[in-house]
């Protein structure tokens, strides 16, 4: 098949994403000045099954605060050859001031956060000029013998720096089959030569992307080129999800080698259990209690798991290896399970279903039962059985099952799963000082962090976290307790006792109470918002606040009106009441899971802004009689 015949797929993808992103990356015609990337080019060649990548970078640095761009880091891994072709400092007219000396290159390990060891490295060097402005220019070549993607390229070097132009060219043999996925605005052309095709993308004037609240992922333009067949350890194919899954399966063949001693333990543990679900649960708890997450990735370890025997001996492993071990435990119990690749993260990246490629960074286990499916996250010692959480919920995963490998959607968290309810009880004197308790049920993301913290953090680290995140303003922690009903409960209860001060604002002889403890971050104004909105899982809060005011008999309370703001984005409700003991407030707030295009942003902004404004107006005024 000639590659041009498959470019139809490419065109469809491109067109689709083109529309999707049009409003974000608009072309800027006037010239940008100041510190910026003048040129970033990548040339890719596939020759005789190996891949060569040459990157060329030209940067202008105009002031001291941009000097950081002259600290160059080039990542590579042990399997690949890195060759720095050129690195120099130039005057703006192009005259070379100095060239990099080989001995000024520092090679150091590049171990990603949370990982114990990886055989990845960085070549690091510094190209400082002495007078501003100055230019730096460098280029390097990396050769890969093992690769899954031909490229997964973005036309920017630094997310917060303007880029004048960025080019990608790919020289691919005519008989080398690829599929291409891309987004953004670019000039594209294909030059067909005798044995080669050259694909070129030219991007111009790329504006930096600033982080915004509730933003979508994947808004940066990109070009991904996936080969039809590849070699990474062993040969594989990306023709379909089935073929990719089959490769993953083959690479991880024969790794469920549970040692005899452990087989014996499994037999003993499950001998009185009949129910499949009970057996899975029992083995999952055993795995949680005896292993922990330690990630060591060497060679093709990014895709290949350690055998179950490794986890059994060391009692640790990364997501792949712990999942493989769990799979081995289940297999010994006669239960079939499937490792499932997902892209983990609370705000999931956009998944390209139509484009089989390595889009994953995490492994979980899927155990299909007759009526439903059990999902197991194997890297946590404390998450409940059959709980995926904000890290992996509601996204596509690839179930690894030979040629039958398929994409499935993981279950999504529902508003009820995420209802965080809090009960505050304040006892205050007219000065606004006193004592308070807070009982809160943590769910979702907060539950996941605190249940892990409860296990892994020291008392003082935990205290710091609570003071920073949960304690209301002007309060001091006296004591706290974290409770959990049982080990599979998806929530955690926290009871806090605290002393509080200055809870009233004084205006003349009036006391003003602002009883809202839920904090809202400042949203971008509609004029400045650049990106669509995405609520990636529901937000659901209920706060009940009781003010026990013994002195209230001598005062008159002016309660503001109840609040009820409803919209398609969510709702916010406040009910206030008073009795002879004090004041009671019930607040409910929800945001629904959804995505909204940029032109709907003013509506979303208006909803949140109404809430913030209503809170400002809703101070409770307490006047002496």
């Amino acid at each position: 098949m000639h590659p041009m015949s498959i470019s139809k797929h490419f065109l469809i993808c491109r067109f689709f994403i083109f529309l999707f992103l049009f409003s974000i990356f608009h072309l800027k015609t006037e010239c940008q000045t100041g510190s910026r990337v003048l040129e970033y080019s990548t040339n890719i060649r596939v020759i005789n099954g190996s891949l060569e990548k040459i990157n060329y970078v030209l940067i202008e640095i105009d002031d001291k605060k941009s000097d950081w761009m002259s600290d160059i880091e080039i990542p590579f891994d042990k399997k690949n050859k890195l060759n720095i072709i050129e690195a120099c400092v130039l005057k703006p007219n192009g005259e070379i001031v100095r060239k990099l000396n080989k001995k000024d290159i520092i090679t150091k390990s590049d171990i990603s956060a949370g990982s114990f060891y990886e055989d990845d490295f960085i070549d690091e060097f510094r190209l400082r000029g002495n007078e501003y402005p100055y230019l730096i220019r460098y280029s390097y070549r990396i050769t890969y013998d093992n690769f899954i993607d031909v490229c997964d390229w973005i036309p920017i070097l630094f997310p917060d720096v303007y880029t004048d132009k960025a080019n990608l060219t790919a020289d691919l043999p005519s008989d080398y089959m690829v599929r291409i996925n891309s987004s953004g605005i670019f000039d594209f052309k294909v030059d067909s030569m005798k044995d080669n095709n050259r694909f070129s993308w030219a991007f111009k004037n790329i504006i930096p992307l600033k982080k915004e609240l509730f933003m979508s992922q994947n808004l940066v333009p990109f070009v991904t080129i996936s080969p039809d067949t590849f070699k990474y350890g062993i040969p594989g194919s990306l023709r379909s999800w089935g073929s990719f899954g089959e490769w993953v399966d083959r690479l991880n063949q024969g790794l469920t080698d549970l040692p005899l001693s452990e087989q014996f333990i499994v037999d003993t543990m499950i001998k009185d259990l009949k129910d499949k679900r009970q057996i899975i649960k029992k083995l999952y708890h055993y795995m949680q209690d005896h292993t922990r997450y330690i990630s060591v990735n060497i060679d093709i370890g990014g895709m290949k798991s350690y055998p179950a025997s490794y986890v059994s001996a060391n009692k640790y492993g990364d997501c792949k290896s712990l999942s493989m071990y769990m799979k081995a435990l289940l297999k010994h119990a006669g239960i079939t399970s499937y490792c499932t690749l997902v892209n983990a993260g609370s705000n999931p990246v956009h998944f390209y279903m139509e484009f089989p490629s390595q889009q994953f960074n995490h492994v979980i286990l899927c155990v299909p039962l007759e009526k439903d499916t059990v999902w197991l996250e194997n890297t946590s010692n404390c998450l409940p059985f059959n709980y995926l959480g904000t890290f992996t919920q509601d996204r596509y995963g690839l179930i690894i099952n030979g040629e039958q490998s398929v994409l499935v959607k993981t279950p999504s968290l529902q508003p009820d799963d995420l209802l965080q309810s809090a009960y505050y009880y304040f006892q205050l004197n007219p000065e606004g000082n006193g004592h308070a308790i807070l009982s809160k049920e943590l769910k979702g993301d907060q539950f996941e962090r605190y249940v892990t913290g409860k296990q892994e953090l020291t008392e003082s680290e935990m205290k710091e976290l609570i003071e920073k995140e949960i304690l209301p303003d002007n309060s001091e922690l006296i004591k706290w307790e974290l409770r959990r009903d049982d080990r599979d409960s998806p929530s955690l209860k926290i009871d806090i006792e605290m002393s509080v001060s200055n809870q009233f604002r004084r205006i003349g002889s009036s006391l003003v109470l602002n009883p809202f403890h839920l904090r809202f971050d400042d949203l971008e104004k509609p004029e400045t918002r650049k990106m669509p909105v995405r609520i990636y899982y529901p937000v659901n809060y209920k706060d009940s606040i009781v003010y026990d005011l013994k002195f209230i008999g001598k005062y008159e309370v002016h309660l503001p009106e109840d609040i009820d703001i409803q919209s398609k984005y969510g709702y916010y409700k406040v009910k206030l009441s008073q009795n002879d003991q004090g004041i009671i407030i019930v607040m409910k707030f929800q945001l629904y899971t959804n995505e909204y295009p940029l032109n709907e942003y003013p509506g979303f902004y208006g909803f949140i802004d109404n809430i913030v404004k209503s809170r400002k107006k809703s101070g409770i005024v307490i006047n002496p009689i």
Binding site: R128, G129, E131, D289, H290, V296, E456
Partner: protein
């Protein structure tokens, strides 16, 4: 048949170790008290406790002279899950040019008490990794296998260094409490060190004695008790420092670095006595240190070389005549500030030559500041102050 195979393998798996009642602080010998310990009484919140930490440094004979051999033996009890983090061990090693520190041996075991039996799980040597920090430092690192709440972990490693200036210091304190910490240094008469104890008022025990074992340097021919050879006979001088029940160093806010506050001793090489007679001061007093620095190629000699290089600059680029001393200073300082850029590296010593600096126009802190010192010396501005 199958069953008996399983039982047999289980027996092999659960290596029995003879239990002693009291900690002997002997590698591999675990006491019942250590197994039973659930919390550390003086600090019930402690997530882990160092049961003992023993360090031993000595000068060993190598063909080129003497290397320092450092052996560390450490045992930790993990008291809660938060303490599991102490099962990750890092051993930094240094190298310069063709000289390398090495770690010829690491032994590590996890001990778990399961159903009345003590399981001893060895560290798989293939799970020891080496992380490259920069061009001078690497880190040997490993994680203990099968660590949970209640596990006792124990390791022993040998580090050999050809750098006499790098006589290992000793930290008596950690972020978790330490029950017993002992450091033994066996000195030989050819090197003298100054030792600095930080945060320690008094050692629980501190003792020095000469090792009765005699050692030789060079050709020694003893006849009736006197050495007729060209070499020397000497004895190690053994110094021992002990601290007991050292509390945990818990992070306190607003401190520069834990290392500046923790209880420790450091050694600094101060003098080298040649076995052939004569001695060389390494670092001993401030005036001697200044003298040394002024003689050093990458410090004092750099300043004088800057002075020579600067002549041209002063004559051709800076109009200093008719200026007051203050104005001369300002002109020179502004000149260096505007023409030379810091490359972002902080250093006491120079790497490049002043000529290089003038060409490249960028340098580390030492290169730029010492270059400026050279410039300031020239019009006899600072000399008056120096005298």
């Amino acid at each position: 048949m199958k069953k008996s195979a399983i039982i047999l393998s289980l027996l092999l798996f659960q290596l029995q170790t003879i239990l002693s009642q009291v900690s002997t602080m002997e590698f591999g010998s675990i006491s019942q008290t250590e197994i039973d310990m659930a919390t550390y009484q003086p600090d019930p919140q402690a997530e882990a406790v160092v049961l003992f930490d023993l360090g031993d440094s000595r000068f060993i004979d190598v063909p080129t002279g003497y290397d320092i051999q450092f052996i560390r033996t450490r045992r930790i009890k993990i008291l809660s899950k938060a303490g599991i983090r102490y099962s990750e061990v890092s051993i930094p090693i240094f190298h310069r040019d063709n000289q390398y520190e090495t770690v010829p041996s690491i032994e590590a075991f996890s001990y778990n008490f399961n159903n009345g039996k003590l399981e001893k799980i060895p560290l798989d040597q293939s799970t020891i990794y080496e992380e490259k920090i920069n061009n001078s430092w690497r880190v040997k690192k490993f994680v203990f296998p099968d660590v949970r709440q209640g596990t006792i972990i124990e390791y022993k490693y040998i580090l050999e260094t050809p750098f006499q200036f790098n006589l290992p210091g000793w930290k008596f304190q950690d972020r978790i409490p330490t029950i017993y910490s002992k450091y033994t240094v066996r000195m030989i008469p050819f090197y003298e060190y100054i030792f600095i104890a930080q945060g320690i008022n008094k050692f629980d025990s501190q003792e020095s004695h000469a090792d009765p074992q005699k050692r030789h340097f060079g050709a020694v021919a003893e006849i009736y008790g006197s050495n007729l050879g060209s070499g020397v006979v000497f004895q190690d001088l053994v110094h021992t420092y002990v601290m007991k029940n050292v509390p945990a160093f818990r992070d306190e806010s607003h401190i520069t670095s834990v290392s500046d506050y923790i209880m420790k001793i450091d050694f600094q090489e101060s003098k080298f006595y040649s076995p052939e007679g004569g001695s060389v001061e390494v670092i001993s007093t401030w005036p001697l240190l200044i003298k040394d620095l002024l003689k050093a190629d990458d410090f004092g000699k750099y300043i004088s070389s800057s002075e020579r290089q600067a002549k041209n600059i002063i004559e051709k680029e800076l109009m200093l005549t008719d200026k007051s001393a203050v104005e001369k200073c300002q002109t020179i300082i502004n000149y260096v500030k505007s023409k030379y850029a810091w490359d972002g590296f902080s250093a006491k010593f120079t790497i490049k030559s002043p000529k290089d600096l003038i060409n490249k126009k960028t340098g580390n802190t030492a290169e730029i500041n010492l270059f400026m010192t050279g410039l300031l010396l020239l019009p006899e501005l600072m000399q008056a102050r120096f005298c």
